[in-house]
């Protein structure tokens, strides 16, 4: 009768290690699917239900893409939120604290992704696979899965490095589910870890395929190179160093990607439509689907929050109208510095029809510059009828690789040349402006041009904060936009705002950690 206390779960959908994993592929691929899906939706049920990260709102705080967007875009000229959701206003005001729930949510998501990817690696070791009599064919595909899990873990660590600089480090040997506290790692250690993991895993990742294929969704070698390029481009900002070798490494990885044969999407808008899975420019997407993969964060948020809640102007068929995020009027200046900006397809995504580009009332969505970039229409204008957005998010795309190449070249990296750099810039310009674009000459290629061109090309694609930090502009009192640092005219802020604080919750839970300087 005392033995009755030894129980096993009755529910068939809940299984233990031994009943989950066998010598067939099902569990391994479903597990890998979960590691990917954690970047797209908050849980294992649609609409961010049955969440992974708890104690906060599943869609808006505990997912990946929406918090990433909030933390990367709201502190910049590209976006300001008019809602009253908890501390959301602190981001544009460069005034967040270590107990901020949005920061905690994103940090928790990143480490959740790191943990499940690590657990996947621990569950698929050679010994374990051998004990389950896994065939050599399956073992080979699992080896690729393992490389993908490593890539996804490195991607999450890249975000840790970019946002927080320092943090706990877990690796393949860390005991999950035990009380052992992970060690504190500084930016240098985390940087090294990402670098070695990506260098290591890219060998086992599958070869890149351009456009839609039976490999769609999987990260391939080009995804790892793109992430390495981004890591090296920002290395000096992350590490507080000034070493040109990183730009050389950046260029090296950009060159590997461009050699594959990716091509710019002829129509800029088509990078952001419901059938963008056909794009030959996108290197690695986060898959989103209105029926099979639904979330209130992610693309749903990017489309709905950009559209006025009265539905008065909804050119891209947003599946909801939430009236939340718009850009400041200084964002218009990034375009207006070009003489021919009115022909630019990217400029045409901005809407000023509410005739009030100055944000006087922060809570009024119709003040400011509305942005219509992510579309709920197909490339041929077919409306998506699902109640959730169906457009994949381009995590890495060729346009970004071009810009990284040019910038690394301008910053003194070896392995690049001016002719290619100029061609890349003109290709991007021509693609955006077929009427009068593509006329840049070598003298136009300056770093300040790149910062502006990145705003024009990459706006709302979750890179702006990183870019401004790299250029030393995020907290700069001479580079301001409306309501920067909470002042209507815009103001500078302390340099520790270049990174976020480690959330109080983890500092309390893990006594090995140290708070970031300034917080």
């Amino acid at each position: 009768c005392v033995n009755d206390l030894d129980v096993t779960p009755l529910n068939k959908s809940i299984s233990t290690e031994t009943t989950t994993f066998s010598n067939t592929s099902g569990a391994y691929i479903s597990y890998l699917a979960k590691v990917y899906a954690g970047f797209a939706t908050g849980g294992i049920q649609g609409g961010d239900a049955n969440v992974d990260v708890v104690g906060m709102d599943g869609g808006s705080q505990a997912g990946y893409l929406r918090p990433l967007w909030n933390l990367q875009e709201l502190p910049t000229e590209e976006a300001m939120c008019c809602w009253n959701d908890q501390t959301i206003g602190n981001f544009h005001a460069l005034n967040w604290t270590a107990s901020d729930v949005f920061i905690k949510g994103f940090y928790s998501r990143l480490y959740y992704q790191i943990t499940i990817a690590t657990a996947f690696l621990q569950e698929t070791t050679d010994d374990k696979l051998a004990s389950r009599n896994v065939s050599s064919t399956l073992k080979d595909s699992i080896a690729t899965f393992r490389a993908e899990a490593r890539f996804l873990r490195a991607l999450a660590y890249y975000n840790v490095l970019d946002m927080f600089r320092n943090g706990p480090l877990v690796n393949d040997a860390s005991p999950i589910g035990s009380a052992t506290l992970p060690a504190y790692a500084d930016s240098q250690t985390i940087f090294k870890f990402i670098e070695s993991e990506l260098t290591d895993c890219q060998a086992k990742l599958s070869n890149p395929v351009v456009g839609n294929s039976n490999q769609y969704g999987h990260a391939n070698k080009a995804a790892a190179w793109s992430l390495l390029a981004r890591l090296y481009l920002n290395a000096n900002a992350f590490l507080g160093t000034n070493d040109a070798k990183y730009y050389t490494s950046c260029i090296e990885n950009c060159n590997k990607v461009t050699a594959i044969g990716y091509t710019l999407e002829p129509v800029y808008q088509n990078l952001f439509v419901t059938d963008n899975y056909n794009s030959k420019e996108i290197i690695f997407p986060i898959v989103i689907d209105g029926t099979n993969l639904t979330s209130w964060g992610g693309m749903q948020f990017l489309e709905c929050s950009a559209t006025a809640s009265d539905g008065s102007y909804n050119p891209l068929n947003a599946p909801g109208t939430w009236g939340g995020n718009r850009a400041t009027m200084q964002f218009l200046d990034r375009f207006k510095s070009m003489s021919n900006y009115q022909d630019d397809a990217r400029y045409k995504m901005l809407y000023t029809g509410y005739n009030h580009t100055s944000i006087d009332d922060q809570s009024d969505f119709k003040q400011g510059v509305q942005v219509f970039k992510f579309s709920n229409l197909s490339s041929t204008g077919v409306k998506n009828t699902a109640s959730f957005a169906s457009t994949d998010f381009p995590m890495f795309r060729l346009g970004d690789i071009y810009l990284m190449y040019v910038e690394a070249f301008l910053r003194g990296g070896a392995g690049a040349n001016q002719t290619t750099a100029l061609k890349y810039i003109n290709d991007l310009s021509k693609r955006a402006n077929s009427i009068s674009g593509g006329n840049y000459s070598a003298s136009d290629l300056t770093l300040s041009f790149i910062l502006e061109e990145r705003a024009r090309e990459m706006f709302w694609e979750c890179t702006r904060r990183t870019d401004l930090v790299r250029f030393g502009k995020l907290t700069d009192a001479n580079y301001v936009w409306q309501w920067k640092a909470g002042v209507k005219a815009g103001a500078g802020s302390d340099s520790y705002r270049n990174y976020y604080p480690i959330p109080t919750a983890d500092l309390t839970a893990n006594t090995n950690l140290k708070q970031n300087t300034g917080y």
Binding site: V2, D4, L5, D6, V7, T8, P9, L10, S13, I14, S15, T16, T20, I29, Y31, K34, G43, I44, Q45, G46, G47, N50, D52, V53, V54, G55, M56, N84, D85, V101, K104, Y111, T115, A119, P168, L169, I176, G177, P182, N214, Y216, G217, H218, N292, L293, T294, S309, G311, S312, N314, G320, S363, T385, S387, F388, T504, L507, T508, A509, N510
Partner: protein, 952 residues
């Protein structure tokens, strides 16, 4: 005839005894010296009655000076009180135990025992979740001892501990027991009393005994029925249509498109969603003895409409109890079966909030093709506005949320007194507790809510059926040896308990547009408790009492290493009144001191996982959360978080009490002082990032303290021949404080909680060391010289601070029963002091910009014009409002007929008003909000009841 009435044992004179000439209505009452005089024929017989004593009859027999000695009634002397696994004489109690029989309670419209227990006992707080028919209630005994784990007391019905969490589709899990069948409640409050129930006793234990037949009883039939009318007591003050038109034209003058949305109608949405509701309740019971077999059978039926349109609750109950004594009184058999069938139609309380904010200038119906003829907001392109408010009336009529619930509890208890050793008893109890619910929610296609609520918002209708079944089985066995050796009495008990809890459920949602059908999957789960327990009672000279109990509990919820928890308790009592120096103090009829210490445990994690220590994987079956590789979608396999070191939460209670009785116990009082410390608190706290598959997890960490005082006094201020008055007052004070939350002290650390309505993800509570559980965490509002809040202006550089909590400091109850000849007048009052609410109705419905949001107009509370906020100020302490209150729960006026309709029937006719009045400063509709977040609470109705009770 003159005389004096005395206590036969002590010789004390008795004040207020009734002396009646038998067979007449002539009579009198003894005076302060116990004397009486009345006119009676010399051959008459006098009948003398006094509460707590046996009636005495004495022939006058020509005498003129009588001495009448009353024997204390054996019932009072041997009045036994149920304790866990046994019973004890009331005056031999060592712990803090309160027993009340239901015939002494003022009942209103009671569908659950929680309705009648409210306010009757010090330290027992009962708060209904609202005024819906059949609504559930929160019971807190001496505050809560846990933070994340359950704070509900253990409820034991006829020796069967029941599953308190209920089933889906039943708002009150305890309503399966018809309160009319209940004989007594015993509440075990301190650990010395509850520790015998070990694992589940940290929050107190309520023992319920139902009515039984008895051998002495003659065949008796009784009927108890009532009809009720429920009316809305109060509505929220919002702008009228004309006021709203004026406001919008003025406030939105700069945006002409906004006033253009105004309609020309005058619709009072609150009037539309509420109604006057009828209900009726019938109970029939038959009790007696068929030869040697005492029995009681009862049936009950109740049907109540709610004041929110469409809500209804009906219940049929039946119970049977048989309690024969066999084998020459050596084997006592106690068999009980209780069953109930309830049907619920729930009205969506979202209609309440919608009625406050829906534009009063719009009409109810419209000819638009959207909304099934109900008016709804459309976008400028003519399609439905998905973020608008749903038409309040349509929320009720276009949604059908019904459930059908069966519940049954049954047990067979055999108590055998050994023939060879009559001091030794063996007791076996076999029991089950089953609940089963079927329910569904249907939303009509094209209804306003099909565009505004849920995840689809495309007009698709939905049908969401669900099912749940819980089967709990129990086996208890114990041996008890009781013997008196001279001045020593001992009672030794030891036993074993086995309890299994099985639960299976499924739910599913099917949309009429046939997209994303969710497959129907059963979700079975179970857990197991195994316990060993013992108790030793020792009494010396009937004066000094010692109780020691020990329970060893095992639960399947923890890993092998942490599975068992040992919970001891000890209590001492000293019956001081029995000492020689008090024996002759006549005014003092009882004095007892009690001291107790005990530990209890908690394994109810309040999470749905019964296997929290086992690493498991969960394969999602949801088609709307898959990932794409190539062209194939894959279901997600997720590792679940687990905690191998999870163990028992333990609560240590210290209790000191004193029981007093005066004037032959005409006045009784008791005072208890207690301190409760919870350690290894089951608590959801952050997990170090990178160590588990979640960011916050249930863990044993932290401590909490409850300290309090309880006082109860019961007396009979007036006892006379025609008029008697019983009065009972209780007071409880409790202070709760979190003393530890993390392994390393961190004053800045807090866990936010308490979701509020408004914005996304806003929370209002914090759990912080040094403050009570669920302290509000808000900004300090700054006011102008006129005392009006200044929008967005907060003190201390806008840092959040802890401001009050939903728990009251002091609760009080007052019950009164007056009898005058055949009339009776009873009332119950209750007060709660120091409890604060977060007025979420006000914070989300009075800021002026709210009046035009997401393309539609929204009405505002009338307070909007005073508060004058333009934007939402959700976390201002302006909305933390003192919700102290005093309520008159019910008043009953009745009349007892000795011979009803000139027959042998005894009958009583009564009228009751429930929820008579509330005295409060609180600005919201009703200050009584159990979790303190006041939002869309189903208003508690004022109920008028006419009832009839007939016995023969």
């Amino acid at each position: 005839v003159k005389g004096v009435v005395k206590d036969a044992k002590s010789g004390e004179t008795i004040v207020g005894a009734n002396v009646i000439v038998k067979g007449t209505t002539t009579g009198t009452v003894t005076d302060v010296n116990g004397n009486f005089s009345l006119n009676a024929p010399s051959n008459a017989t006098l009948v003398v009655k006094y509460v707590g004593y046996q009636d005495a009859e004495l022939p006058v027999a020509g005498k003129s000076n009588l001495v009448i000695n009353l024997q204390e009634s054996s019932i009072a002397l041997s009045e036994v009180v149920a304790i866990g696994y046994g019973q004890v004489k009331k005056n031999d109690l060592t712990g803090s135990v309160v027993a009340v029989s239901t015939d002494k309670m003022n009942k209103g419209l009671a569908t659950s025992f929680t309705d009648i227990l409210s306010g009757k006992m010090a330290g027992v707080n009962i708060s209904t979740s609202g005024g819906a028919p059949g609504a559930g209630a929160t019971i807190r005994i001496r505050g809560g001892s846990s933070m994340s784990a359950s704070n509900d007391p253990l409820i034991v019905v006829d020796n069967v501990p029941i599953e308190g969490s209920g089933v889906n589709g039943m708002s009150n899990p305890l309503s399966g027991i018809n309160p009319q069948d209940i004989e007594t409640f015993t509440v075990l409050k301190d650990a010395s009393a509850t520790a015998i129930y070990g694992s589940r006793a940290s929050n107190g234990v309520i023992l319920i005994t139902t009515k039984k037949g008895s051998l002495k009883q003659k065949f008796a039939v009784s009927y108890d029925g009532s009809a009720s009318v429920s009316t809305i007591a109060k509505k929220v003050d919002v702008l009228s249509a004309d006021e709203f038109r004026t406001f919008v034209r003025d406030y939105w003058a700069g945006s002409p498109s906004v006033p253009a949305l105004l309609g020309n109608f005058n619709t009072n949405w609150q009037d539309l969603i509420y109604k006057t509701a009828w209900g009726h309740d019938h109970n029939l019971s038959i009790a007696g003895a068929a030869g040697k077999l005492p029995y009681r059978v009862s049936v009950g039926y109740t049907n109540q409409d709610g004041i929110l349109k469409t809500s209804n609750y009906s219940r049929t109950t039946a119970s049977l109890s048989l309690n024969p004594t066999l084998l020459n009184d050596h084997l006592k058999v106690n068999a009980n079966v209780k069953g109930s069938y309830s049907t619920n139609r729930f009205a969506d309380t979202g209609a309440i909030g919608a009625a406050l904010e829906f534009d009063p200038t719009q009409q109810i119906y419209s000819a638009s093709k959207y909304g099934n003829n109900y008016f709804m907001w459309l976008k400028t392109d003519g399609t439905p506005q998905s973020l608008g408010t749903a038409n309040p009336l349509s929320v009720l009529t276009e949604k059908r949320d019904v459930s059908y619930v069966y519940q049954s509890i049954g047990n067979l208890q055999l108590d055998y007194k050994f023939h060879a050793i009559p001091e030794l008893r063996a007791n076996l109890n076999l029991a089950y507790d089953i609940s089963k619910s079927d329910g569904s929610t249907t939303i009509n296609a094209n209804s306003p809510i099909s565009y505004v609520w849920g995840s689809k918002k495309n007009g698709a209708g939905s049908y969401a059926p669900y099912y749940q079944k819980k089967t709990n089985t129990l086996l208890d066995f114990y041996l008890d040896y009781a013997k008196t050796f001279g001045v020593h009495s001992i009672d030794l008990m030891g036993g074993y308990s086995w309890q299994h809890f099985f639960n299976t459920s499924w739910s599913s949602t099917v949309y009429t547009d046939n997209v994303a059908n969710v497959p129907r999957v059963d979700y079975p789960t179970a857990y197991q408790l195994v316990s060993f327990f013992g108790r030793f009672n020792y009494t010396l000279m009937d004066r000094y009492l010692l109780t020691f109990t020990l329970r060893d509990d095992g639960t399947s919820r923890f890993s092998k290493d942490n599975r068992w928890g040992l919970f001891p308790s000890v209590a001492l009592a000293w019956k001081m009144k029995e000492e020689s120096f008090l024996k002759d103090v006549n005014w003092l009829s009882d004095l007892k001191l009690r001291l107790g210490y005990g530990q209890t445990g908690q394994q109810n994690l309040n999470i749905s996982n019964d296997y929290p220590y086992i690493p498991t994987y969960n394969l999602s079956t949801y088609n709307d959360a898959q990932y794409l590789f190539g062209s194939q979608w894959y279901h997600l396999l997720r590792p679940s978080y687990f905690n191998t070191s999870l163990k028992w939460e333990s609560t240590t209670t210290y209790n000191a009490g004193i029981d007093l009785g005066f004037l032959n116990n005409r006045i009784t009082a008791s005072v208890d002082v207690y301190k409760r410390v919870t350690d290894n608190m089951i608590n959801v706290i952050p997990v170090a990032a990178g160590t588990n598959f979640i960011n916050e997890m249930v863990t044993n960490i932290g401590s909490m303290e409850n300290k309090g005082v309880e006082f109860t006094i019961t007396g009979k201020p007036v006892v006379s021949r025609h008029f008697t008055w019983d009065l009972s007052y209780n007071l409880g004070y409790n202070k709760n404080e979190i003393t530890k939350l993390t392994s390393s002290p961190d004053a800045s650390y807090g866990v936010p909680g308490g979701d509020i309505s408004g914005g996304t993800g806003n929370k209002i509570y914090i759990q912080k060391v040094g403050y009570p559980v669920n302290s509000y965490y808000v900004y300090k509002q700054v006011y102008d010289t006129k005392g009006n809040p200044i929008e967005g202006a907060y003190n201390n550089n806008a840092t959040l601070y802890c401001d009050h909590s939903p728990a009251p400091d002091v609760t009080m109850g007052l019950s009164s029963r007056m009898n005058y000849k055949q009339w009776y007048l009873n009332f119950s009052m209750r007060a709660s002091i120091g409890n604060y609410n977060y007025n979420n109705v006000q914070s989300s419905k009075e800021f002026k910009n709210q009046s035009f949001t997401t393309g539609s107009l929204k009405n505002l509370l009338s307070t909007s014009l005073d508060t004058n906020f333009k934007n939402a100020q959700y976390i201002s302490d302006y909305y933390i409002q003192n919700a102290s209150f005093a309520k008159m729960d019910n008043v009953t006026l009745g009349y007892n007929f000795d011979k009803f309709l000139a027959s042998k029937l005894r009958a009583s006719v009564y009228g009751t008003v429930q929820n008579v009045f509330t005295i409060t400063k609180y600005k919201g509709l009703d200050p009584e909000v159990s979790n303190g977040i006041d939002n869309n609470i189903y208003p508690r109705p004022r109920v008028f009841i006419m009832g009839l009770r007939v016995n023969f």
